[in-house]
């Protein structure tokens, strides 16, 4: 978990609309020291001076410039966790909000009690987003991981190094679907010797049968290529 420990539990509320600020305060007033900002200049001053634990930030705040504006606000107080509030939540924007560094993305008219829960959870270092955002988040993670594996292939399974050259040869033939008899003919050894080699291979690789070995070899070759 990322270190976001702060001494205070100050919550800064930033929205141009007084009614909205009032609504958010409802659930938070008793638990957290609250400060408000109705415009960007006040927000900036409060961020630098108070270094609040949480900033509830209305995406519609004039001068913010949408989700991309988050990072410039974040710079004023790097340890503050920013929760973005929007009247029109959607998964894609929630996803970009997280990428921009926000620790939460909520609907503006969220129930006050739920908002309090969200704030408490984010203070503890967690992230609050709708479950819908999980899917694009994981997609991105997988896509980036795969791309990186293409650029820097992961370490090959070192178990194959435990095999002798002869055993490796036999393992490759099994991977190609050869039978014991075929292997014996190919390598000019008896079938009994092939079987003995196979037993050793299974033991060294921790596998139980030739099907598993065939699969192991195919996947190994795919990574090795």
């Amino acid at each position: 978990m990322s270190e976001r420990a702060r001494n205070s539990s100050v919550v800064l509320i930033a929205s141009p609309i007084a009614g909205v600020r009032g609504q958010w305060s409802q659930g938070l007033r008793e638990k957290f020291p609250l400060y408000e900002a109705a415009e960007r200049s006040v927000l900036e001053r409060n961020m630098s001076n108070l270094k609040p634990a949480i900033l509830l930030l209305d995406l519609a705040l004039p001068g913010l410039g949408g989700v991309e504006g988050v990072s410039s606000v974040q710079k004023l107080s790097p340890l503050t966790s920013i929760i973005l509030m929007t009247s029109t939540p959607n998964d894609r924007e929630g996803f970009s909000a997280l990428k921009a560094g926000a620790r939460g993305y909520c609907s503006m008219d969220m129930d006050p009690n739920l908002l309090r829960k969200a704030v408490s959870v984010v203070i503890k270092g967690e992230i609050w987003v709708a479950r819908n955002v999980f899917a694009p988040l994981l997609e991105e993670l997988t896509a980036l991981t795969e791309r990186r594996h293409k650029e820097f292939p992961p370490n090959l399974d070192t178990r194959l190094d435990r095999l002798t050259p002869r055993e490796r040869e036999i393992a490759q033939l099994i991977g190609g679907g050869a039978s014991n008899k075929e292997i014996a003919g190919r390598l000019n050894i008896t079938e009994a010797t092939v079987k003995a080699h196979l037993t050793a291979i299974f033991r060294k690789l921790g596998l139980s049968d030739r099907l598993g070995l065939a699969l192991f070899v195919t996947e190994y070759n795919r990574v090795a290529r």
């Binding site: 959870v121 967690e126 993670l141 992961p154 178990r159 139980s208 049968d209 099907l211 699969l215 996947e219």
Partner: protein
Amino acid sequence: MKARRAKPRTTKKPTKGRGRERGGMEWVKKRPLPVVSILIADSERASRNAATRVIQSVRGMRIVGEAHTGHEAVLATARLKPRVVLLDLQLSSEFGASLISVLRRRSARSRVILLVGRASEDRIVEALSHGAVGCVTKKEIPLFLSKALEAVASGEAWMSRKLVPKIVDRLAEFTARAKKRK
């Protein structure tokens, strides 16, 4: 370790009393839902049984196979092309390359949900980064598995909220690394 063939299980079809216990307005939309086919790949009998109980109690889901080892899981997935594979996290490290990417290559339509016994968050996130889209701890199978299955079958992901910061951190690492290289 003994090799067992994954055997397809027949499940009772919930024909009688459909949605009776659900009450409410359920009867309004009576479209037949497509059946979600599920492969259970887990070496532990207890969690297989727990998962089976949940799946049998849910309408529109059917267990099409069972696997007890990683390579059984690969073979069964390639053959049955299930919509969802419930995969024991333990099995996912049976190969050098991640088993999850292998499964996805063998059956592009299959989605993997991890069943997690005891494992660090890092290990879970690692598995998710190879393409799993869901994660349920074995203890929580009775509580959350049906929700996870429904979410994943409809294209959503399912995991604990607690994992989100780890994932966001990882994404940030990727971006930072990409910037450095430029």
